[in-house]
Amino acid sequence: MSVPLLAARGLTRIYASGQERVVGVREATLSFAAGELAVLAGPSGSGKTTLLNLLGLLDRPDAGRLELLGEDVSTLDDRGRARLRREKLGFVFQSHQLVPVLSAEENVALALWIRGLPEVDCRTRARAALASVGLSGMEGRRPDAMSGGQRQRVAVARAIVGEPALVLADEPTASLDSETAARLLDLFDALHAEKGIAFLFSSHDPRIVERVPRRIRLVDGLIVSDETPAGGAS
């Protein structure tokens, strides 16, 4: 039996809000295979982003265990978590979150700079990543000279340039119009198909939820269903 890419058991995250304790995620247990495509779905406040942050090693659980490629990462220190994030994971955020003073190519290469790779490698791989998201010829443009969809594609290129095992995308279409969102979803499909990259989305956008084969639904921090509809590939 192969080791799952990601395995969570009983993940719980509780926030303190004044005297009150708010449960963000309650005993979430799920497993995620390499090359899989899934979405955390649910209404606002259901705990999608909280769970995504826990799975992406951005946040620490108050209880439970998380394994990445068989390694227990629940108790890793900051440096260890940062290392795994830059080597094994990629991130796409609701807003593109690009560095405004860097060109598209440099923004993508940034994910490799932090690994300390040589400049030539960074440049070559950044150009290839930009080509794979359909942005050849726009390497020198700065974010303020690009459209919203183009910026989000640069963000996707930044997420995949390090050849991660898993890309976590938090509401990636939320700030895009329908047409641009559709093109971005096509891009995710293509990258999944061509490169075998696993994607885990957090979204309440039906355009994503309907296209993704595995749907994990949350309500009030609890996973209420984890289904792969018949015919859905994972």
């Binding site: 900051d78 830059r86 807003s95 979150q97 700079w113 932090i114």
Partner: protein
């Protein structure tokens, strides 16, 4: 940190160009103020040092060992014997340019009904002229010419008190070391304008020979004033002369000019304290301005910092990025400050601005700001360290941000 991070840091500085320029200009002003003050203070010290050395007649004073630690009045009675022989011996030392015997004495000088207290010096006219400020201070008449003649030069204030002018005859009275009274008549050949008013009111110069007759101290001297050759190390020369005199058994001691200049030492300390205080004020202003800029930058870039942390940037890398921004601002500001300082210095020196006389002095001087390379080096280091210090807390704050909170920062 590799070059690409420095490039990123430099670009980050110009996200808000106006703010960076404003903060940078504070660094520039700080740098210019520090280097200009150092240049001005250096000129003041150099001038004061020159006046002090030439006022004492040279870099070193050979005095009677018994006079060390005594008051001027007491020391004036404790004379060196065989002054001529001793002067010749000192003058042949390899570090010495010239040596001259001097007699210090006190008493009253009278003209007609008026008599005023004086502070007298008996000296060798030709050597006094070349080694001291006295010749430059002649405002009226001519410097002492005859080493044997009964000629006298008076400070301007003293001459006014006596109502004396050149060509007048005055009576110089004193108490000899034996306690007797003696007097000679001397012709006023020059009126001096001494830069320090208290001395201008009291100074009197006689050639060595009549002064020795007056004091009944022929062949003796209160001190031998020694001028060193250019570039000679003061302490080494003093040490060599002490050893030479010790071997000769002359019963003489050697004092450096700085040991005989408590005023110079006090002024130096005062200036150093003022300079330190000014530096601290400047550093505080720069720290506050830069810290404010960096804090605003961290606040505005919180989401971006969250993104950088999310994609795997380590906290120390985030901290170093902000420190690099502070460092670059310090270096850039210092560089601009150095250029500004050179230009302003050139303009001030070209303008030949006259300074008013300092307290106690009768004449001012031309403002000249010296170029002090060490001050530029210290300025660079100080401003850079100051900017690093100012960036430390904002950088630390950025590095300690929680990525989840930072990503949701509005």
């Amino acid at each position: 940190m590799s070059l690409r991070w420095w490039r990123l840091a430099a670009r980050n500085l110009f996200r808000h160009g106006r703010r960076t320029v404003l903060t940078g200009s504070i660094v520039v002003v700080g740098f210019v103020a520090a280097t200009m003050t150092a240049g001005f203070v250096a000129q003041t010290f150099r001038g004061l040092k020159d006046i002090t050395i030439r006022g004492q007649g040279g870099h070193l004073q050979v005095v009677s060992a018994a006079s060390v630690g005594k008051s001027d009045e007491e020391a004036a009675t404790l004379l060196l014997d065989h002054a001529g022989e001793l002067t010749r011996s000192v003058a042949t030392s390899p570090d010495v340019l010239q040596a001259m015997p001097r007699l210090a004495f006190f008493g009253l000088v009278a003209r007609g009904e008026r008599s005023v207290g004086y502070m007298g010096t008996g000296t060798v006219p030709a050597l006094e002229k070349s080694a001291t400020l006295t010749a430059e201070a002649v405002a009226e008449g001519a410097f002492l010419a005859d080493p044997e003649g009964d000629e006298v030069m008076l400070g301007g204030g003293l001459a006014r008190s006596l109502g004396a002018k050149t060509g007048d005859l005055v009576t110089v009275m004193t108490t000899t070391p034996d306690g007797g009274l003696n007097a000679i008549d001397a012709t006023v050949v020059a009126i001096l304008r001494w830069p320090i008013k208290e001395l201008d009111d009291r100074l009197l110069f006689l050639p060595y020979a009549p002064a020795a007759r007056l004091l009944k101290a022929e062949g003796k001297a209160t001190s031998i004033a020694v001028t060193l050759k250019p570039g000679v190390d003061l302490e080494k020369a003093a040490g060599a002369l002490r050893a030479r005199l010790h071997r000769g058994g002359a019963g003489a001691a050697v004092k450096t000019w700085i040991e005989s200049a408590p005023f110079y030492v006090a002024v130096r300390r005062l200036y150093a304290a003022i300079f330190l205080f000014t530096g601290l004020v400047l550093a505080t202003v720069v720290i506050l301005a830069a810290a404010n800029t960096m804090t605003m930058s961290v606040f505005e870039r919180t989401r971006e910092i969250g993104t950088l942390l999310a994609i795997g940037m380590e906290r120390r890398q985030v901290r170093n990025l902000f420190l690099a921004e502070g460092l670059l601002m310090g270096l850039g500001g210092s560089l601009a400050g150095a250029v500004g300082s050179l230009l302003i210095r050139a303009a001030i020196n070209a303008a030949e601005i006259n300074l008013p006389p300092p307290p106690g002095a009768t004449s001012g001087g031309v403002l000249h700001v010296e170029l002090i390379p060490a001050a530029f080096l210290v300025g660079f280091v100080l401003m850079t360290v100051t900017l690093l210090a100012a960036s430390w807390w904002p950088a630390r704050r950025a590095a300690r941000l929680d990525p989840v909170e930072a990503l949701t920062h509005v």
